[in-house]
Symmetry: C2
Subunit: 409 residues, 2 copies
């Protein structure tokens, strides 16, 4: 176990962030996972990291705040927090996010408080977001098994066994065996993803047509100069990093107003500590004109109304139904894991990296290139075993992209 | 145990801070003690606290930073940290400091890095210190038992037993029995301290003459308009609070240049994670002209040279040799506890509250009133069972203040 934790920490710092000599590393971590953060810090310092800065969090205190704090605190963000994110992003620090949030942590909390909190953060951190869009900060997300999360994933196991089982799933997904081969395995995996990414970029599809037995029937135009990305990203200064650990997706940007039809989520969506089930969107010229859910509909409606861009899509991602996380047949209640088990979309902000020359572009230029903007970005899963996706090229050819849930090539 | 922890948390929040409706509470806490911080947060919210803000720390990461970070980071303080302290102090927030630092945490660390770190913090947080000097923020310090600290205090016990024993010592010192009587007991204790404080204020001594068998022979002039304080303080807005839990001391300000003679520490001094033993100062016209120690002399010399004021005294405190913490015959390696077991002085900054009208005074006026200024304030213990202190009044009367280590009245 200790060997595996050590190897996982090394993977996150050396491959996820690829920390450079003289670079600061900001580690966001729940207080209950301090020992793992200490492992990451030691490895970062060994690689010449300038300084490790901790950004601690605590689920219980977050929940208490939403339930008991004065109502006014959800409408503003303190200046120190703005400076924290803005200044470290400006100086090209790395951002490692260690997450183990109980997906149901905010259950029962006033949805309006959550919405206002997101809105005020979105506004206060505008400059920070603009810097992050320049892709000068390597970043990565890695999950840590916690008791509450494990209980949700393995409700029939004893707490201790559930945590163990969840750690094993995590190690499997990030290819950590405890024998020192994880970094090599990740490089091979990244290479394979980037091979398929190249094929998709060569096709340069005009649109994708999604269909499955759930009822999804959706035509998704891609941004004109879209670029498919996968298996890692490179900062403007040439630092290669791995934004998500694990990652199985190949993703790009849709054309903001180019989506029409109906789409059903194939898995629950965890948002703000609430679980949304049976999500269904009707979309016309890119805009979500009808949003329903069997459970958590209020949370869903809030999520797509934080600003105008929240009701448009910003990301199209392809993941084979037959892939490691998907094959584990486990619902993780965690976007980081579940999005890598399934084809998905995101409503909200598009990634500037998913359009040619997007990194140097102004907000207006990105908009002209067809990309959506928003303070939010929320993934939801649509992949099923019977999903078919047909690509349409600019010269009118129809090309099967997904057949029965998996890549056709 | 849970009952006692709950009662201790309540004591710190309701008596230590005396949190008011609509007031923010900043809790500084080591990450390993998150459960106790959560208890404090719940109690604060129940009393109408506007928002609890956590200021987490971690001994191990602090040590790693001092050992492994880039040398440049010790010469600057990030703007976000300055804003954090300055903005919350401005808005009259309460500051609760939960401490469990391993006193030997920084053993072997480059003393120059520690010195530069203190200096740059001292300079960057100048505005914060000025606000704090206005006494608009209720604050309190409470200790939490940790394994490393407990091992130092009880080296012969098994780790788990040592932690238990340390908790029991803490509960004893803060008068927590787990039966709900702690708050009442504290109010009675505070009243008793304030009775003696009144006697000392009525005498209005010109100077105190310290003598004991260790070799201490020191004449300490008090600031002309000095005020003795004890058992709690009141903010400028009238919020009564208890700066230290426990507190047994009655303290005031010496005249900056009015100390002459020799003084020996009677207990080790823990500073920057190092233990200084056998401390001895020779003082002429207030200035420490010679500083020696049997162990940690380098750390001591650094501590008194962070700025000019660091080599002058700023506090004179009286604690009977026969008092609860002293009687426990335990060396806590913690200033919070050890200072309340023994008469002590501090080198560095004086408290503006310890001179008449000091709160409203400018830096220059405080200096004129005879008070020392510095970015630092370090207590060291001088009480012994044979300590005698003789007070000299302005009309030339000699009054015994301490006889054989205890108050003469």
């Amino acid at each position: 176990m200790n060997q595996k934790l050590q190897e996982y920490a090394r993977l996150l710092v050396e491959v996820g962030i690829n920390i450079q000599k003289g670079q600061r590393l900001i580690i966001a971590c729940p207080v209950d996972h301090a020992p793992f953060a200490r492992l990451c810090a030691s490895i970062a310092y060994e690689k010449g990291c300038k300084e490790v800065i901790m950004n601690w969090s605590d689920d219980e205190l977050t929940r208490k705040k939403y339930l008991m704090a004065d109502d006014s605190v959800f409408d503003s963000v303190p200046e120190w927090l703005v400076r924290f994110y803005t200044d470290y992003s400006k100086e090209k620090a790395g951002f490692l996010h260690l997450v183990s949030t109980d997906p149901e942590n905010l259950l029962g909390v006033d949805a309006d408080r959550i919405l206002r909190s997101h809105k005020s953060q979105g506004e206060a951190l505008k400059e920070y977001r603009e810097i992050r869009n320049k892709n000068i900060n390597p970043w990565s997300i890695g999950a840590l098994a916690s008791e509450k999360w494990a209980k949700l994933v393995f409700p029939k196991l004893e707490p201790e066994k559930a945590v163990e089982a969840l750690w094993e799933k995590i190690f499997m997904a990030v290819r950590v065996k405890g024998d020192g081969t994880a970094i090599e395995a990740w490089r091979a995996h990244s290479k394979k993803l980037r091979g398929r990414m190249k094929i998709l970029n060569d096709y340069n599809f005009k649109s994708l047509h999604y269909k499955n037995g759930l009822g999804t029937d959706l035509i998704v135009e891609l941004a004109h100069d879209h670029v498919w990305e996968a298996g890692g990203d490179t900062t403007a200064d040439g630092q290669f990093y791995m934004p998500n650990m694990p990652t199985e997706e190949i993703f790009t940007a849709n054309k903001r107003d180019g989506i029409n039809g109906v789409v059903y989520a194939s898995m629950p969506l965890c948002r703000d500590g609430n679980v949304i089930e049976g999500l269904r969107f009707e979309i016309k010229d890119g805009k979500i004109v009808k949003a329903t859910a069997d459970k958590g509909e209020g949370i869903l409606k809030n999520a797509i109304s934080v600003d105008e861009g929240a009701s448009y899509f910003g990301e199209v991602a392809l993941v084979p139904f037959d892939s490691p996380i998907s094959n584990s047949k486990t619902l993780f209640y965690s976007t980081l894991y579940d999005e890598n088990a399934s084809c998905h979309f995101a409503f909200g902000r598009a990634y500037p990296t998913t359009v040619k020359g997007g990194i140097g572009m102004s907000k207006e230029q990105l908009k002209e290139a067809g990309l959506n903007d928003s303070i939010t970005h929320v993934d939801f899963m649509v992949g099923t075993s019977d999903l078919s996706i047909v690509g349409l090229t600019h010269d009118g050819r129809e090309v099967p992209v997904f057949v029965e849930g998996n890549f056709a090539f």
